[in-house]
């Protein structure tokens, strides 16, 4: 009689993964890991190639016959155009320093989510085409042919990278996997292979000005809605202006701040701060989106969507631009905007009208991050603050990947946070600042159908949050990113319930003592301030 397997052996059989080499392990599309395919109308709306209806789960992705030529030609072009790409293809010594630094590897345990392997997906094809060893030795030299399976594998894993750049911090050569992913996605887009969660917002932004496709009058009335709430809470009337020519400053923020909770409280914070300062600024219903989902598609689309910011600044004749709390918006602005759509020589070097500080760092780009602006106000004692209004907040700080690693914005937000909040606790050193962990939903991967994947990717971040929650009673994670506000809320709800997410200017506005305000009884979320008896939520107190 054949030997019977032990029960525990039976139990483990089908989840022990194959032990074949990575090149021979074909990609398996697991539900919850990937996003839906870009819809035909969104591809067509942006004049992307190969607009058609297709589904990720179908065998046939409806590619043009010469798809391989297109990919190889696209790769050749990019190798010529971006010297960094060729270097990244050539110099990796496979030391493994980056291997365990990716939140998706840590959360999924899938080796192909090790940054070094993610890069190999593209590098192996490069080797076959461009290196002698690869041409002759093939697999033995880590080289392989471009096939439809390889293409699908690219798609699966390049849309499992949030372009967060954490891995690059640990690479002795500074190899930036985010840039490899960016190029990988560009190549895929040559065949119309995007996800709809990126293509939809990008298309809406192109035609209507913002990711949700909100028309100007709705954009305006959304902001006016906040004014009612602000009036109820502070008793103060605010009258912001829209598309006003001759204003000194144009203010641009991600549309998430205007439409998605809890970003909306941050938007109320901007309105209150600017009113208190008497700032000569305007909103724009044309440049109504700071975010840029083109950046997750290709260079051309990113540039196109970004162009409206300078164009609007020029049309309105403002002196400089102030930008709200966002992550990838700032990566695009600080690293690309000037090169793509500059020089903005029709603008002046930004200078705070309140403190006189000249923002030398923005001399060329002409756009200032709101935390630079507000930190400067606080440094000069220009704001009257009552941090005790935030005494129920036990705050920790999440550095958003793009602002931290993409533009080095580390101190200003912390400085502000500590001015407006008496209880501040850092997360462990290897999870903050340059080494910060991604929310797991960046670079357009904040869809709903890949929620399992997002939660896995959010684990390392949320795990550190849970630690300070248990150790210090932290109940709020502050950040300056619209995608964090939307998605970290979800990830933390899962991994560390009882902690919520807040934008920085929400906390600023709660602490801000405004001229002529009535005694405040609630914060911007209509919750009673510390020390105030329960407020009747159904009927917020009217003046």
């Amino acid at each position: 009689m054949a030997k019977l397997p032990k029960p525990e052996e039976l139990g483990k059989i089908d989840y022990t993964p194959p032990s074949t080499g990575w090149m021979d392990t074909p990609v398996e599309f697991k539900p919850g890991y990937f996003c839906n395919a870009a819809k035909e109308k969104n591809l067509a709306g942006l004049h992307m190639p190969n607009a058609r209806t297709w589904s990720v789960k179908d065998e046939d992705w409806k590619l043009p016959d010469n798809w391989k030529e297109i990919i190889m030609e696209g790769l050749r072009e990019r190798l010529e155009k971006y010297r960094s790409l060729r270097i990244f293809m050539d110099i990796c010594v496979r030391c493994g320093a980056c291997a365990d630094k990716c939140h998706f590897f840590i959360g999924t345990g899938d080796p192909k989510n090790m940054p070094v392997l993610r890069a190999e997906l593209l590098r192996s094809v490069y080797r076959k085409e461009y290196t002698t060893a690869g041409k002759i030795l093939g697999k033995f030299a880590g080289a392989r042919e471009m096939t439809i399976d390889v293409l699908k594998e690219w798609w699966y894993y390049f849309f499992q990278c949030t372009e967060c750049r954490r891995c690059s911090v640990f690479c002795p050569y500074g190899i930036d996997q985010a840039e490899i992913t960016i190029v990988g996605r560009e190549l895929l887009n040559l065949l119309g292979l995007n996800i709809d969660w990126i293509m939809g917002p990008a298309n809406a932004c192109y035609h209507k000005g913002n990711h949700l496709g909100i028309e100007p009058h709705t954009f305006k009335s959304s902001i006016e809605f906040f004014l009612d709430d602000i009036k109820t809470i502070t008793g103060i009337d605010i009258e912001p202006s829209f598309n006003r020519k001759g204003a000194e400053i144009l203010f641009v923020t991600p549309s998430g701040d205007v439409f998605a909770d809890p970003g909306t409280y941050t938007a109320m914070g901007y309105l209150m701060l600017f009113h208190e300062l008497g700032l000569d600024y305007t909103w724009s219903t044309y440049a109504s989106e700071g975010g840029n989902f083109g950046f997750f598609t290709n260079n051309e689309l990113a540039k196109k969507l970004n162009a409206k910011i300078y164009a609007e600044a020029k049309r309105l004749g403002v002196k400089w631009i102030l930008g709200g709390e966002c992550g990838h918006m700032w990566r695009v602005l600080s690293q690309y905007m000037d090169t793509w759509n500059g020089p903005a020589d029709f603008l002046e070097v930004p200078k705070s009208p309140i403190t006189g500080t000249v923002f030398e760092n923005a001399r060329s780009m002409k756009m200032v991050h709101i935390t630079e602006f507000t930190a400067d106000l606080m440094k000069h004692n220009k704001l009257k603050l009552d941090p005790s209004r935030n005494d129920d907040v036990r705050l920790t700080w999440h550095d958003s990947c793009n602002t931290a690693r993409g533009m080095g914005l580390l101190e200003e937000p912390r400085y502000i946070a500590k001015q407006v909040c008496n209880n501040f606790f850092e997360m462990p050193e290897n999870t903050i600042r340059e080494k910060t962990f991604c929310c797991g939903s960046g670079s357009g991967l904040n869809a709903s159908e890949n929620m399992d994947m997002r939660l896995k990717g959010g684990l390392p971040r949320a795990n550190a949050v849970k630690y300070v929650h248990e150790k210090h009673g932290v109940n709020t994670v502050g950040n300056v990113c619209a995608i964090d506000r939307a998605t970290l809320t979800t990830a933390i709800d899962y991994w560390s319930p009882g902690v919520r997410v807040s934008g920085l200017h929400e906390l600023v506005a709660n602490a801000l003592v405004m001229k002529g305000e009535k005694t405040r009884r609630t914060n911007l979320r209509f919750e009673p301030l510390p020390g105030v008896e329960q407020v009747d939520d159904d009927q917020p107190e009217e003046e």
Binding site: G11, T108, F225, P262, A464, D538, Q539
Partner: protein, 177 residues
């Protein structure tokens, strides 16, 4: 020897064996990483597994049931999103049995009736907690679907509010968050 003495004496071996079995579910590179990296923030999965199994084991031996749920939760919450099927996700609880059986095999061979009874009792305790693990698993999966709807609501609430599609707007606004 009594069972609890055997378990106490062999604790390190049992825990190591249990962890090994749990890690078999991951590819080699990954289980090497999970095992070797000690920092709990660099390696949250490894930390949850190692502290979790020890906590569960201690609670089972000492009979302290209050904290066991949180240790099980730490492990299951991860497995609930790591594409294990439900049975596989909670299966690690049952795998403790085989690890322990291996350890007590020699003593059992001496046909110690008292020990057999103790072992069966201990295994029933594991079964009880495995049911709890299954409940936690189900709650995690339900939570995942709730989170999708919550996120959708947060993203659309303001627009619906403006379109007057939501009544009693102000009260809901405050309580929805």
């Amino acid at each position: 020897m009594k069972l609890d003495q055997i378990l106490e004496k062999n604790k390190a071996v049992i825990l190591q064996g249990w962890v090994e079995i749990i890690l078999k579910a991951y590819p080699d590179e990954t289980s090497r990483f999970i095992k070797s990296r000690k920092d709990r923030f660099d390696n949250p999965v490894g930390h949850a597994i190692s502290t979790g199994v020890e906590g569960i084991f201690n609670c089972l031996v000492e009979g302290g049931n209050e904290r066991i749920a949180s240790f099980i939760d730490d492990i299951i919450r991860i497995r609930a999103v790591q594409d294990f099927r439900p049975g596989q996700a909670v299966g690690f609880m049952f795998q403790l049995k085989s690890v322990i059986r291996d350890v007590v095999a020699d003593d059992l061979a001496r046909q110690d009736a008292g020990l057999v009874r103790e072992l069966l009792e201990f295994e029933s305790r594991i079964d009880e907690q495995a049911k709890l693990a299954f409940d936690i698993y189900m709650k995690c999966r339900e939570r995942l679907y709730e989170l999708k709807t919550d996120e959708f609501k947060r993203n659309t609430f303001r627009l619906l509010q403006q379109a007057n599609l939501i009544c009693e707007v102000e009260g809901q606004d405050a309580s929805a968050n």
